[in-house]
Symmetry: C2
Subunit: 314 residues, 2 copies
């Protein structure tokens, strides 16, 4: 496919002279990779990742990377159930949300480098803090994964499977698609996001149980209730599909303050996300245009200078 | 789209002079339609439906259709979450399984008429009895529908929805797609397939609960267990996708006996499906070729004669 220029079996060799390092492995392997490459990284290198969960990753980066190396976590919201270089897709990230989670001490230059990467891929950067990220993806990625696997296992485990399977059509295929995902990736997700996954699974179980009880009841009230639930879900999903929900202000890197200190002050610490959104609300509607201009500038810098805006190692 | 030639607001007018009547409404409305059209149907007319469940439909047909009118139930396994004529798709049924459920007294001619319809659509006929059908679709259609709706409701009901929604990508979209289905259709499914849906929902809840407990546990044994479950699901779903499951013999209308009596004897009564499959197993591998030839013949007959092979009313 022409997607790979060079393969280095040893991560230490792979990162030699790199200005930007992207770690794209199952989450727990990121700790191993960080440990291996740490001593080999040069001053000023920016490290990012694409891991499914973020709190542990940011802790590992803090502990395992040397001073002078910056970590800015990343998570492109563009999953596929297929793996490996054969499943590569040039447009995979286009128009997708790309979560950006800077470490506490990441300088503006490092954040801009990762924003440049996001922009180059055609994705939209989305600032979020690590704990918030992990809670949210538990709901919209990890619980759907468990639901998919459990649904498939329920049908596959039946003695009637050979009679069921031929009747299974697109509905069953779509709802069980995530059961085809990489089990190693899933194991790492559960290990690094246990509490959030269990919390949302309990909510899902409660929803399901309530629905089950309504279906089991023959009363008219119960029928009206599950009918109302389904009608509401249908309407609300339509709103979701057309993007009609209150996004708040865009979590885009708009109106960057000129010094890295104030930018970091704004972005990180405690409930970074809320403060960032509050700050955004006061900005005018031209903000996104300016953000796009800035992103274009960053991209042009990258194209001119090689692997990172202002990285200086070109 | 050119898909509709004529619209008749009154079903009695719509069926006037028809050789084949196809009722495509939510399940419980089929009873109403059968009741309305019964007196207007001419001797020899074949009535079929596309309802999501079959046991009640066959009972209603038995009770509400006059003698001399035949009912052969149908259920094309090609669902979409969209409704109405705008969602029509010429190739919707192509290469899909089309369940065919003849009533006890349907003559061979009536069955052949519906088989001709199935073949014309490019689908594959699949003989099955009504109770078996309802059990199976509960597992592979109705529980996935409930799972989809519950998953969507779980996320949508959260106070954090506006922050969750932007992160929701293809995984969430696919696993919640069925939540966009027609609520009336769903209500009718639950009302006419209550026991089977509850049975499979309980199995699904048990699978989910087991998975939830494994994720909650921090023990290595638990991790090995959920890892094994996911690895197994991944492999088995791959087998499912490539169609590698024991289909038994094809449930196609192969080797039709020459008299309608023996054909009906073979097809219906008690556990029709099992007996039919047993019978199929002794047939040689040329059977499918002959079935296809027969289907082509039926189609040619339809093309020549209008709306039904041997229907005689052109």
């Amino acid at each position: 496919m022409g997607a790979v220029d060079r393969i280095e079996p040893d991560p230490r060799d792979a990162v030699k002279g790199a200005g930007l390092v992207i770690i794209a492995t199952p989450v727990r392997s990121i700790a191993t990779v960080l440990e291996q490459i740490g001593p080999a990284l040069e001053e000023g290198t920016v490290v990012t990742d694409t891991g499914s969960t973020k709190s542990d990753v940011l802790r590992w980066a803090q502990r395992l990377l040397p001073g002078g190396v910056s970590f800015v976590g990343g998570h492109p919201m563009a999953g596929k159930e297929t793996q490996g270089i054969q499943a590569a897709e040039a447009a995979l990230f286009r128009e997708k949300i790309y979560c950006v989670i800077p470490s506490v001490d990441a300088p503006e230059r490092a954040i801009r480098t990762v924003l440049g990467l996001v922009e180059t891929l055609g994705a939209t950067a989305w600032f979020i803090d690590a704990d918030e990220h992990d809670q949210y993806v538990a709901a919209i990625s990890h619980v759907p994964l468990v639901a998919s696997a459990a649904l498939f296992a329920m049908a596959r485990g039946s003695k009637a499977w050979n009679d069921l399977a031929p009747l299974a059509s697109s509905g069953f295929r779509d709802t069980t698609r995530l059961a085809s995902g990489d089990p190693d990736m899933a194991a790492d997700i559960f290990a690094t996001n246990r509490q959030a996954v269990v919390h949302w699974l309990d909510r899902f179980l409660a929803e399901l149980q309530a629905f089950r009880d309504l279906v089991a009841s023959e009363s008219e009230v119960a029928e009206q209730d599950h009918d109302k639930r389904l009608t509401t879900a249908q309407l609300q999903r339509e709103e979701f599909l057309v993007g009609r929900f209150d996004r708040g202000a865009p979590r885009a890197p708009i109106d960057l303050p000129s010094t890295s200190t104030s930018f970091v002050d704004l972005l990180v610490g405690g409930r970074m996300a809320q403060r960032f959104r509050d700050a955004q609300r006061i900005l005018d509607s031209d903000a996104r245009d300016r953000a796009e201009q800035m992103s274009r500038d960053v991209r042009r810098d990258i194209e001119r200078n090689g692997n990172g805006s202002g990285n200086g190692r070109g």
